[in-house]
């Protein structure tokens, strides 16, 4: 049962008490000599000693983190885990995935059961400030939407006055919908079910007039419907939902590694690099590309990694564009604002320099 697990996880935080004093050391500021490579990061050290990255993912959201028929994890959130493993351990396959419900995810990270949470998690003020969690980068810009049956003749959110709406507990959706309906002076009746499979089935069975979730999730819910053409995702988006991986805030170096692993995916697209062309990048004259693959500047060492960390990310995982092409495009989800700034989107990440 999910509950049991949650209880165990909560008490794992308390159990960390046994290692008395150790967390205090972690949070203490470290004094470093400029330019000196430092691997004094407890998370990186334990990942290296263990030989794999422990990554928290969803229990199955198509396009983001889901298992294929062979049991292999796939999705853009999974690619973030793979990128980190490629950068840190040299092999994108060295990841152990822990499927988590929305309700379990933060506790799993706080209790140290996972090294990184990569599970379409909306970054909010409260999560950033209150949970002891850091969100180093954004890897997908989404928003809360609704899926409805076409037969209900609902065209926009305003038509949902008095409707029964399915949602999941502990999601930003739950509060977004409450806020939006209050603002518009509309009423609704919530039905809150924890697991995505069960809440989706409740919607399909007719328990709810609409199901509210992030729009990307709704696209995959619709794809899984017995008859997808009977359903439609409303065009209204009632909130901002930037997704990003989360890590504990007491390990600054690990935060930087996760941040730059995501940036490397996006920078690779911007530099026109892909898993197929990356081998030729070593001969490139472009200073940006030469820095990226570690020919110059020694950025890898500054992160406590080897020079080819970013090269391996692109070689083994691909660029952000390839990741979307593999995972998001087949679901019929448009990239929307998740394009590079050069192409009219909002992806604008700092450069490797």
């Amino acid at each position: 049962m999910t509950m049991t697990r949650l209880w165990i996880l909560s008490f794992a935080i308390a159990a960390a008490a046994c290692s008395a004093g150790e967390p205090r050391d972690q949070s203490a500021p470290r004094i470093r000599t400029a330019g000196q490579p430092s691997t004094a990061t407890p998370t990186l050290d334990s990942v290296r000693a263990r030989g794999f990255v422990r990554c928290g993912v969803s229990t199955g959201i198509a396009g983001f983190s889901t298992q294929d028929t062979q049991g292999q994890w796939q999705g853009i959130d999974v690619d973030v885990c793979r990128a980190i493993a490629a950068a840190v351990l040299g092999d994108a396959g060295k990841v152990r995935y822990t499927p988590l419900t929305a309700a379990q995810r933060f506790t799993a990270l706080q209790s140290g059961e996972i090294d990184v949470l990569s599970r379409n998690t909306t970054v909010t003020f409260q999560r950033d400030v209150q949970l002891g969690i850091e969100f180093p980068a954004i890897n997908w810009y989404d928003g809360t939407g609704f899926i409805v049956r076409k037969a209900s003749k609902v065209q926009s959110v305003k038509d949902l006055n008095g409707a029964t709406i399915c949602m999941q507990p502990g999601t930003t959706t739950e509060t977004d919908v409450a806020d939006y309906f209050r603002k518009q002076h509309l009423t609704f009746m919530p039905v809150v079910i924890e697991r995505l499979e069960e809440v989706t089935n409740a919607y399909f069975a007719g328990r709810c007039d609409a199901f509210s979730q992030d729009r990307s999730t709704l696209a995959s819910v619709r794809a899984r419907a017995p008859n997808p053409t009977d359903h439609m995702v409303l065009s209204d988006v009632i909130s901002k939902a930037p997704f990003g991986p989360g890590v504990m805030s007491n390990d600054p170096r690990w935060i930087e590694i996760v941040r730059w692993s995501v940036y490397a995916l996006i920078d690779a697209e911007e530099l026109g690099l892909s898993s197929k062309t990356i081998d030729r990048a070593f001969e490139s004259d472009d200073p940006d590309v030469r820095r990226f693959v570690g020919k110059t500047d020694g950025f890898g060492a500054m992160l406590g990694l080897d020079p080819q960390w970013a090269f391996r990310i692109v070689k083994q995982v691909g660029s952000y564009a390839e990741s979307l092409e593999r995972n998001i495009a087949p679901l019929g989800i448009d990239r929307g604002i998740n394009r590079l700034w050069k192409d009219g989107g909002v992806l604008y990440v700092p450069a490797l320099r």
Binding site: T164, T175, N250
Partner: protein, 346 residues
């Protein structure tokens, strides 16, 4: 029994008692104190370290969140609630839902269990067999599965537009059971029955029972009734055959013999294990989260996630569950003592 021990005063001590390690009573007390002290020390250390760790990891702690607005909506319950109300009120709504489903469940499970227990011992083959099949099927499948089954059953009902209408103003569909409700007026006749009417997405007005509540109530009470039924059967069998035969000889009907002779004696065997069943039903109500009924566990779960304060939220839930369980068993113990007294000195 030692002869003449009863009513005799113990021999007088000539010297006052001295505290001595050789005295087994002193040793026993010392050991118990040591164990309690060690336990308190362990709990204090864990609590202190947890607080230190939470601070070191930058995780917020404390119960300040209880007064903040919850921000989420809850399906209609006994208390009015809106997203502007505090987490405390949200948890209270959940608690009332848990208590409501548990008390109703206990009442139904007891009546049904009594019926099943008596039916199991019936001389009529068909009655005892039906009761036995019921007990075996319900006892030997997981409760979670049964809850999901009952929930699926409610979802197989017709849509609101084709709702069953067995009585005027009563509608049954997959959105729930809708009933007329009294509303109060200022003018004569002060009270009116408000009928539910189909508007837009569903029925408005009147009162309603949600499918989640119905599935949980049916699931919990039928499941627990099977266990109570077995306890009742054991209790009846524990009463000597002679009692029933004597009652028959006095000319009591079978029903009267059961009501006035057998059951009062059987109660002494039945009550203690039934208390455990009540506690189980109460705690099992937390499975509501699987079918989306907003019970205490479900609201705790949401609170925990919206605030991120797992330890506080779970500690609160544990205290509340513990408190109710202890009161429930205290109440049942009182009742048990009363049945023992009524039963006389058998």
């Amino acid at each position: 029994m030692i002869p003449y021990a009863h009513g005799t005063a113990p021999p007088m001590r000539t010297t006052p008692r001295r505290v001595s390690w050789t005295d087994p009573r002193v040793r026993a007390i010392a050991w118990q104190l040591a164990v309690v002290a060690a336990l308190i020390a362990v709990i204090a250390t864990v609590a202190l370290q947890t607080a230190i760790n939470l601070r070191a990891r930058g995780i917020a702690s404390g119960f300040d969140f209880l007064t903040r607005p919850a921000g989420f909506e809850i399906a209609r319950g006994l208390l009015p609630f809106s997203s502007r109300d505090s987490y405390t009120r949200a948890l209270l709504v959940g608690l009332l839902n848990t208590v409501r489903v548990s008390l109703l469940g206990i009442a139904i499970a007891t009546s049904l269990g009594l019926l099943i227990g008596v039916a199991r011992l019936s001389g009529i083959w068909i009655v005892s067999t039906v009761a036995r099949v019921y007990v075996e099927v319900t006892r030997n499948t997981p409760l979670l599965l049964q809850l999901l089954f009952w929930y699926t059953v409610t979802q197989a009902l017709p849509a609101p537009s084709d709702a069953l209408n067995p009585l005027p103003g009563v509608y049954l569909c997959f959105r729930g059971l809708f009933l007329p409700a009294p509303i109060w007026h200022d003018g004569f006749p002060w009270i009116d029955l408000e009928q539910p009417t189909l508007v837009g997405f569903g029925f408005q007005g009147g009162t309603s029972v949600s499918p989640e509540f119905a599935a949980l109530l049916v699931g919990l009470s039928t499941y627990t009734a099977a266990f109570i039924g077995e306890t009742v059967r054991a209790g009846i069998l524990a009463v000597g055959r002679g009692q029933a035969e004597a009652a028959a000889a006095l000319g009591l009907s079978r029903l009267h013999a059961l009501r006035f002779v057998v059951l009062p004696q059987a109660l002494r065997v039945i009550v203690p294990p039934t208390t455990s069943q009540y506690l189980n039903l109460f705690k099992n109500s937390s499975l509501a989260v699987a079918i989306g009924f907003p019970d205490l566990m479900s609201i705790t779960n949401t609170t925990l996630n919206q605030t991120g304060q797992a330890i506080e939220a779970i500690a609160l839930a544990m205290i509340v569950y513990l408190g109710i369980s202890l009161s429930l068993s205290a109440g049942m113990n009182l009742y048990n003592r009363a049945t023992l007294r009524r039963g006389g000195t058998a």
